[in-house]
Symmetry: C2
Subunit: 279 residues, 2 copies
């Protein structure tokens, strides 16, 4: 199988590597607006060839759109204009705006909306790793809008990559990722800014980081180019959970001000319930 | 050397194991109010013997107080009443209230206030690990209040455990740990509660956790018995940095409400500066 990857960042690059290492794709074509990304991807052997969008589509069986979420529906529509029998997927972290943006395309059923739930805080083709997806979940959205055979084909590929498929409609996908993934990123970005604002001595941050700060702040290294469009597309859900998060922090603050350590203790016990879910 | 460890939890237990494995101490005496902890520590070979406080002190060269911070100064005072030529240290996460609570003891100079900057989200003797301290920093406070020989003796032990010593007064120690370590814990506790409140479907939390949530929320598993006394003792510093954290989150919220994605982008770039400090 020949695959075109549009967008050679962390996710696109890791997808390319995983397809190759799992023997799913023998030839990977890269497409990226950044000539630097193209060069690096060629040099690292992530892709076999760089082509423009049109040539890439006509030379592939599978087209993977792995660009920032605000560009995905435009690119998928463009790709659908060009496809004959090929299958098109995207791997973006939001699904509602994207699926709405392509729903009227006459070849909509060639496209499968997916979200492999995997990532790191790094970005660009140098961050690509082949084991990124193994053992993780992938959400496949709006199955009924895709051709059955193409949907199964895509599900099958993800399973070969070691991923566990979940099925959701785009709207509830976006709600759930806001609640778990997107709020974690805002919390981490905010923690980094807080500590940088308060702690003027950078050496102290480094020395004290072993106490858990480094894992809590890990996601704060994530790229704004990836994340701003995600927050933009998932604004309403993110606002809802962000309000809740600020409320919870305000409760901690209020119990601390009142020296009500009994309620403070109860809140930590509440938080500890996460142990039941994440061992 | 014979060592008494008072408090056989994560830190005390790990200290015992590390002293043994590094050949620093040949005989470890355990003291703990919980008979269950004592049994487990004996069964796991963390300690060689369980004694009561008085016997433990008279049979040791070094006494390590590793109990929750709200109990430390009382215990150190009690131990100092009993010591002849022994050295006493504590390993608590706050230092100001503790050092103030022992400063008038006639044998104050037998005691060295320390904080090894290492931990995990787990607790109790089963959580003890021998490599916990290796490569991490240890803060030694108020050097001038300790006997020079005893201070050097303690610093030397930490260095043998592979730790890098830092010297601070207790007051500035507490400020810095609030800014980096303590706020990370509150942020993580609050994130866990937020997600548990919003996401009613526990399976979804598990499935979506690979997106970074699990690392951001790791510290939320930490024990309230350890942490409530820390927040209590370091209340003013924690409140100051918690206010800043709520402010930063409110700025994120406000830019999202106004759809001001340019400012939102700027804030993520600010957060990204943490990359300069933590690779």
């Amino acid at each position: 199988m020949r695959t075109a990857i549009i967008g050679l960042g962390l996710i696109g690059g890791s997808f390319a590597k995983s397809l190759k290492e799992n023997g799913i794709s023998t030839h990977i074509i890269g497409v990226d607006a950044s000539s630097e990304h193209c060069e690096i991807a060629m040099k690292l052997g992530i892709v076999d060839q760089i082509l423009d969008l049109e040539e890439a589509v006509s030379n592939s069986d599978l087209i993977v759109v792995a660009t920032p979420v605000n560009t995905i529906s435009t690119i998928v529509n463009k790709v659908l204009d060009l496809v004959e029998n090929q299958t098109v997927i995207d791997v973006g972290s939001t699904k509602l705006e994207i699926t709405q943006g392509v729903k009227d395309h006459p070849k909509r059923n060639h496209y499968v909306a997916t979200h492999p739930m995997a990532g790191t805080e790094f970005s660009g083709p140098t961050a690509a790793i082949s084991k990124l997806f193994e053992g993780k979940y992938v959400v496949l959205c709006n199955a009924e809008e895709s051709d059955y055979g193409k949907f199964e084909f895509v599900k099958n590929i993800y399973e070969k990559l070691g991923m566990k498929p979940l099925f959701q409609d785009a709207k509830s996908h976006d709600t759930h990722v806001a609640y778990v993934s997107h709020i974690s990123h805002i919390s981490s970005f905010a923690l980094a800014i807080t500590v940088l604002n308060k702690e003027e001595d950078e050496d102290k941050i480094f020395e004290l980081a072993s106490t858990g700060f480094s894992s809590t702040v890990r996601l704060a290294k994530s790229s704004p180019e990836t994340w701003v469009p995600i927050f933009e597309q998932n604004r309403d859900n993110v606002l809802e959970v962000l309000d809740e998060h600020i409320n919870v922090l305000s409760n901690f603050r209020s119990f601390l001000i009142k020296k009500n350590y009994k309620e403070f203790h109860k809140m930590i016990c509440e938080a500890n319930k996460i142990k039941k879910i994440l061992k």
